[in-house]
């Protein structure tokens, strides 16, 4: 499948430590000056990758702390922006408690429908920043 990669190349580094998405070009394209070969695997590419602004690292870290506390994980358990709560063993009750912990920490209120959609640390951090911004606007 021929696809244009011109816009996706620049945002790839943000998520490279959290996901294993690999990219490959079907044909060599003169525009790319690197030797990297990429295979686009649509299944593993989150749609949000293309349009969202990544949340601040500070927010991501605070969210990770709260998640670790709620799930009673050890401090050295690796939790990054791309980590899904379910991969850490969180069930729906955990997710809701995580949301309450985040609300307390950041002084915000998340509508239940949006809170239930949060699946990763990154998504939580982005929603938090959006709500904090609205609050201070």
């Amino acid at each position: 499948m021929a696809t244009s990669f011109t816009s996706s190349i620049s945002m790839q580094p943000r998520f490279s430590q959290a996901t294993t998405t690999r990219f490959s070009l079907q044909k060599p394209v003169p525009v790319f000056k690197t030797n990297l070969s990429f295979t686009l695997r649509p299944r593993s590419m989150p749609a949000r990758l293309a349009i969202s602004c990544a949340a601040k690292q500070e927010t991501v870290e605070k969210v990770s702390e709260i998640v670790k506390k709620q799930l009673s994980l050890s401090q050295d358990q690796k939790v990054t922006a791309g980590t899904k709560f379910t991969d850490l063993g969180a069930d729906s009750l955990d997710t809701v408690e995580i949301v309450m912990g985040l609300e307390e920490e950041f002084g915000i209120t998340m509508a239940e429908e949006r809170a239930k959609e949060i699946a990763t640390v990154q998504q939580a951090a982005e929603l938090i920043e959006e709500l904090v911004l609205e609050k201070t606007a």
Partner: protein
């Protein structure tokens, strides 16, 4: 789709289908499954995407439980196809338009059994699968000792309906309050999962579940409208449509089951057959299931 495997899997013992208004509840205790070659057999049953999910789980306990969960679903459903033996590896799954998993029977057109419904739930120490025919089912299980890290009433006020908050706030003992909170949680989860429309369609504060006075294990479901002015209009009974059961499993867990009652058989309680299992090894019928 034929896949060849070097290790021959033992055959699965077939099962009688559940009757109408009956739920079969199967559960595995992960701590009882330690045999590594058995676990290896199980991993051969999984599809590539299921294996991916197992790999994604952090830590060996979570990986094992994810493996057991998929094994439980595949082997249990395969066993109900009493007319033609179905290879659990060949089962395919899809999601309904709201994301609820269901069996995709496209490869098994010869199956003339009535439509099977299933729903899965698990905690760290127990994995359960509910099975029904004709009607959708939702289940949720929780460790009886599960601690809530927030204040239970604050939690309830945030998410539950007004009537449920009132019920919880009349309970003086905080331990009892905690367990009643958990029972309500799993009943509500079971309903949302049975409905299969996802949380956005059914926020927790839009419906109330309460136990029917004077019956063993009966529960009422009411929709609540926070916007209603007149309290008579406020609750719309949708009682004849859903049945609930709440029980204790293995002395350690609460399990809630919700099924659609399409025949409005209001008075008869749900029959639940509970069996503990180790796939390919043994089933144990649990005859004394405490209905709560």
């Amino acid at each position: 789709m034929q896949r060849s495997f070097s290790i021959e899997l033992p055959s699965l013992v077939p099962l009688q289908l559940p009757s109408r208004m009956e739920t079969h509840l199967w559960y595995i205790l992960p701590d009882e499954v330690k045999n590594t070659s058995l676990l290896k057999h199980y991993s051969q049953l999984l599809s590539p995407s299921e294996k991916d999910k197992v790999v994604r789980m952090r830590g060996n306990v979570l990986k094992k439980n994810a493996l057991l969960a998929r094994t439980l679903v595949r082997t249990t459903i395969a066993r109900y196809q009493t007319n033609n033996a179905v290879d659990p590896r060949s089962l395919m799954f899809k999601k309904n338009m709201y994301g609820k998993p269901e069996v995709d029977w496209q490869n098994h057109k010869n199956c003339n059994n009535p439509p099977l419904h299933f729903n899965l739930s698990h905690t760290d120490s127990l994995i359960a699968c509910g099975v029904t025919v004709h009607v959708p089912v939702g289940i949720d299980v929780e460790d009886k000792e599960r601690k809530i890290k927030h204040d239970v009433l604050a939690f309830a006020k945030r998410f539950y309906s007004t009537d449920e908050v009132n019920f919880l706030s009349t309970i003086p003992d905080p331990e009892v309050q905690r367990t009643e909170f958990i029972k309500l949680w799993i009943l509500k989860e079971a309903y949302v999962k049975a409905l299969g429309k996802g949380f956005s369609a059914t926020p927790f504060n839009t419906f109330t579940i309460q136990s029917k006075a004077g019956t063993e294990g009966g529960y009422n479901l009411r929709e609540t409208s926070e916007m209603a002015v007149n309290s008579l209009e406020e609750t719309k009974k949708c009682n004849g449509e859903w049945k609930f059961a709440l029980l204790e499993l293995a002395d350690s867990h609460y399990a809630a089951i919700c099924i659609e009652d399409d025949q409005a058989s209001e008075e008869s309680p749900m029959r639940v057959i509970v069996r503990k299992t180790i796939p390919f090894v043994e089933d144990e019928l649990i005859s004394e299931s405490k209905l709560l």
